[in-house]
Assembly symmetry: C2
Homo-oligomer: 266 residues x 2
């Protein structure tokens, strides 16, 4: 709809920008995939997920039908090769292939666990002190919520946040790109938005409990309180460019960290 | 479709990741706008356009129904305020408010020219030596193509490209973010994909002529050849994450710079 342009001007000008789309719509395209335990949404420009959305229940986490030894990291051939994250990009990068939906969240099915090894569920993560340590403890905290809630939903993704440069006071985003030629962006931070439903104790309710955390992609001391990383949901929206839980009324959302102790266990 | 998960495992696990979407789909959302002379597609995470798509004809550029003095820069209220580029972000930033669809491309209508002043058609651009100089000469080159073609389509957008760090040999993306608090990313480069149709001389043809250029967001000497900035279209796809002209057959695409002299005039 171009309602504010005078009709006769548009006609005389003989233009129709839409005509370009016969050559194909440029995008960006989001490459959504439903992988069983999670849904992934891929960012072709950074070669990382935009986000990965998981669902865990007491039932799913009690099942043991998978062994990580049977899984292997794999490229996602649903992504056009122009935009595909490649195994070779990670080789000698100094970063772990860091799962966004954790393999340990998908033990109910070998295929579901295998699916977590797609590079469309992966970002370059600092290994020591982060992926293998603090971040893994946060993943455990999420699974552990199924002791109190019948349904736990986690939205996880990368961030590329600005930092103040002490030399000139300006804010800059700065991140490495790994691969040769450079291909996959190394996020500066990772976020988790946690939504719990169906408290196991108490009456049926459609109220949800919500918490959002942003952690730096760096070694983090296990002494650090998880709540140090908590941020308001609207601040997470601003950082990600995503709309989070906007379709649900405010009076049906509670703060998760007032319901449970938001802390990691080592 | 989750065809590779054993049915009984999915049922026993009681999971449905899709259930999150009742709270709203996260996005990213693209905020497409048809503004008459151009269509814009907005990136909520950088607060810049992803791309702006223009259409120019000999007719549109011959009309004089607009004066830039009547236009003023404006915020785009169609963008939720969480993600909106603000006029104050540019204040004392050191960068120009750089049009992607140039005001001078929209003289056929005052409303069309006014629309080019939306911040959803704007990026922070170096002024001296770029926006006011070399980039303006490139914009003129595009308009000038209407002397040879009855239809000229230009896709313009920002880029955030990695650079090799001489100290450690690693590739990094580094860019400033302007505003207080920081809000709008300063692109490292800008691209133009030019598609010309309907050559004015010669027989009717549905063959198109194509060229892609990537310029750094820096002062550029007017001596620099425009062809120094030319890159293959598939390389531009890889940098942008966009799909460009994929729906049109290769044998109907020609190289623009073999048809015309791709050079700027000062
Ligand atoms: Mg991990
Ligand atoms: Mg300009």
């Amino acid at each position: 709809v171009v309602s504010n342009i005078k009709g006769e001007h548009l006609v005389s000008a003989k233009i129709n920008p839409n005509g370009f789309f016969k050559y194909g719509f440029p995008g960006p395209k989001h490459d959504l995939q439903n992988r069983g335990e999670f849904i992934s949404c891929y960012d072709r420009q950074t070669r990382n997920p935009y986000w990965v959305l998981e669902h865990m229940t007491p039932e799913s986490l009690s099942m043991r039908n998978a062994d990580r030894k049977n899984s292997y990291f794999k490229e996602d051939e649903a992504i056009p090769d122009t935009f595909r994250a490649m195994l070779k990009d990670y080789f000698r990068s100094g970063y772990d292939r860091g799962h966004l939906a954790a393999a340990a969240d998908a033990k109910f099915s070998q295929e579901a666990m295998d699916n977590t090894f797609y590079l469309t569920n992966m970002c370059p993560q600092v290994g020591q002190g982060f992926n293998r340590d603090y971040w893994a403890h946060l993943e455990f905290f999420c699974r552990d919520l199924t002791k109190k809630y019948g349904s736990v939903r986690v939205l996880t993704g990368p961030l590329y946040l600005p930092k103040k440069d002490p030399t000139d006071g300006k804010y800059r985003v700065s991140y490495e790109v790994v691969g040769n030629p450079p291909n996959i962006a190394v996020p500066t931070h990772f976020f988790k938005l946690i939504v719990t439903e169906k408290p196991l104790i108490g009456s049926n309710t459609d109220t949800i409990s919500v918490a959002a955390f942003v952690l730096p992609n760096e070694p983090i001391s296990n002494e650090t309180k998880l709540t140090d990383f908590e941020i308001p949901v609207d601040a997470l929206e601003r950082s990600t460019g995503l709309e989070l839980l906007r379709a649900y009324p405010t009076n049906k959302k509670k703060a998760l960290c007032k319901e449970v102790n938001c802390q990691i266990v080592v």
